[in-house]
Symmetry: C2
Subunit: 300 residues, 2 copies
């Protein structure tokens, strides 16, 4: 990983759809500041850009959604996955984007007949990461990227206060920080509200199942419902009581980001103590196992 300061966000003058003849041209434009590696990241700062070149057998490019496979464990000769990946190096930096809400520039390698070139796809948000067993049987880290709506150049160079767009995204002002203008997207913590999530909050009267905290505000108590196996693609967890926990925001963050997990016995892994479980709340062991194997990473 390079030592210079990371540059996040759009590169002035480069719009989605812009084509580059080669990796060197892409590098020269500042879109992807690595000439060979697929991930351009700065240690401790996050990942600023990736290039999708079809090299990883587990990548899935669905357009606005990309399931991106982390780095490492591949054979240099066969390009096959021959060992487990770890959440270190560039993979840890991709995960850091999730925590910090940093956008990543995405470029695709395009092959048309005998001609290959690179097309800038725009900014994506990395919404989640997890580990799973790849096609090879080895453990790979997966990163779910979602396309961010394009921000107009005029607003990107805009006034000193942030401009929320109708999408609730914020174009941060280019502040005096580092050598290059850096702009950032927002962290959108998506906390789903459904009948089931309301049910679990009521069941625990808004107490956290980990720490028993109950946050109280002038508009009433506040808790968050955490889906154990996440809703929506690609996890497709069900929206049922057996798949949700009632947590305070702190433990929700820690659960989603894999700081702790729950054993089938209710014992916490990564934290001392046990989960508080109401008699009328039969939590599905299959969901707990899904979370443990994909999201939980014991810390050294």
């Amino acid at each position: 990983m390079a030592k210079s300061t990371a540059m996040f966000g759009p590169v002035p003058g480069i719009r989605p759809g812009h084509e580059f003849a080669s990796r060197l041209e892409l590098w020269g434009a500042g879109v992807h500041r690595q000439t060979q590696a697929g991930i351009s990241a700065r240690q401790g700062e996050g990942a600023e850009s990736i290039v999708l070149s079809g090299g990883y057998e587990d990548d899935e490019d669905l357009g606005d959604t990309i399931l991106y496979t982390g780095r490492g464990g591949r054979s240099a000769e066969s390009q096959q996955q021959i060992a487990d990946q770890t959440l270190t190096g560039a993979n840890a930096e991709l995960a850091r984007n999730v925590l910090l809400g940093l956008p990543v520039r995405v470029t695709r390698k395009v092959t048309e007949g005998s001609r290959s070139f690179y097309r800038y796809a725009g900014l994506y948000r990395i919404v989640r990461y997890w580990a799973e067993s790849g096609r090879s049987g080895h453990r790979v880290w997966r990163f779910q990227l979602e396309a961010l709506p394009e921000l107009a150049e005029s607003s990107a160079a805009g006034p000193a206060t942030s401009q929320p767009t109708p999408l609730g995204l914020v174009q941060a002002p280019a502040a005096g920080y580092g050598p290059a203008p850096r702009r950032a997207a927002s962290v959108l913590r998506l906390v789903r509200d459904t009948a089931v999530t309301r049910q679990v909050k009521t069941l625990y009267d808004y107490h956290c199942q980990v720490c028993q905290t109950r946050l109280s505000s002038p508009a009433g108590p506040y808790a968050e419902a955490a889906h154990v196996q996440p809703l929506g693609a690609p996890h497709h967890g069900p929206d049922v009581l057996a798949n949700v926990l009632c947590l305070c925001p702190n433990h929700h963050v820690l659960f989603d980001y894999g700081s702790f997990a729950v054993a089938d016995s209710g014992e916490l892994l990564g934290l001392p103590g046990r989960l508080l479980v109401a008699p009328r709340h039969p939590i599905g062991p299959e969901f707990l196992a899904y979370h443990r194997t994909r999201f939980y990473e014991p810390q050294l």
Copy 2:
């Protein structure tokens, strides 16, 4: 407030732009289940719909953004604000929508020449609430509404798993809960990431300034930066170090929702103790005062 179960979300068959000749017709369609009141809310459940009829001198209708004034304190004769509003009754229910992420149906009264009718505007998310001194000098509660993108009817009736849209919003499945299908939007906790918010996290090494908690995950430490005077319209707080705090998610929620505030001395109001303040972090008393007067509501 009526006693029946609240019905949130879209009314089948009614798309934005649908026109109704009268309040009675609006009531009959199930869009606004009150024949006179501007807010239709159910005690303890939240507000399901509002009608903007131009009755409140402090309302501001900007299209996709609406600054809506709470109920109460008006003279029945003059319609002028003659007393302070309180965060009770329907106003408390509007605030509950913020906490629970519940969408609200919005209908506008339209007057064209001598003809008046009602036009359904669609679903809005209530993103924030605060108190301020209205034009009359009396205290009013203000609710900031943002238009939600329309969800296609087909996906609204869709499969049993939630479908994230490109906007990160989720169409929750219509679960068996209450007599009518109820669909809900997501709570999007917007946590802004800018150079300044990264700076404040570094300054405190990700420790919460209220409780000194430092959340740790496999991808690194996690904290949130809270703008004291919020960024963006209508508050226009600046994105400067003097206007941000480093908080854990729990205290961020409590701060935004007015459970506590900070005195100029650094003493906490609504919570015991004092704010931890680093020597290189001169917090602006004008921002603390802005937050105290608008967001803080001492709990009984």
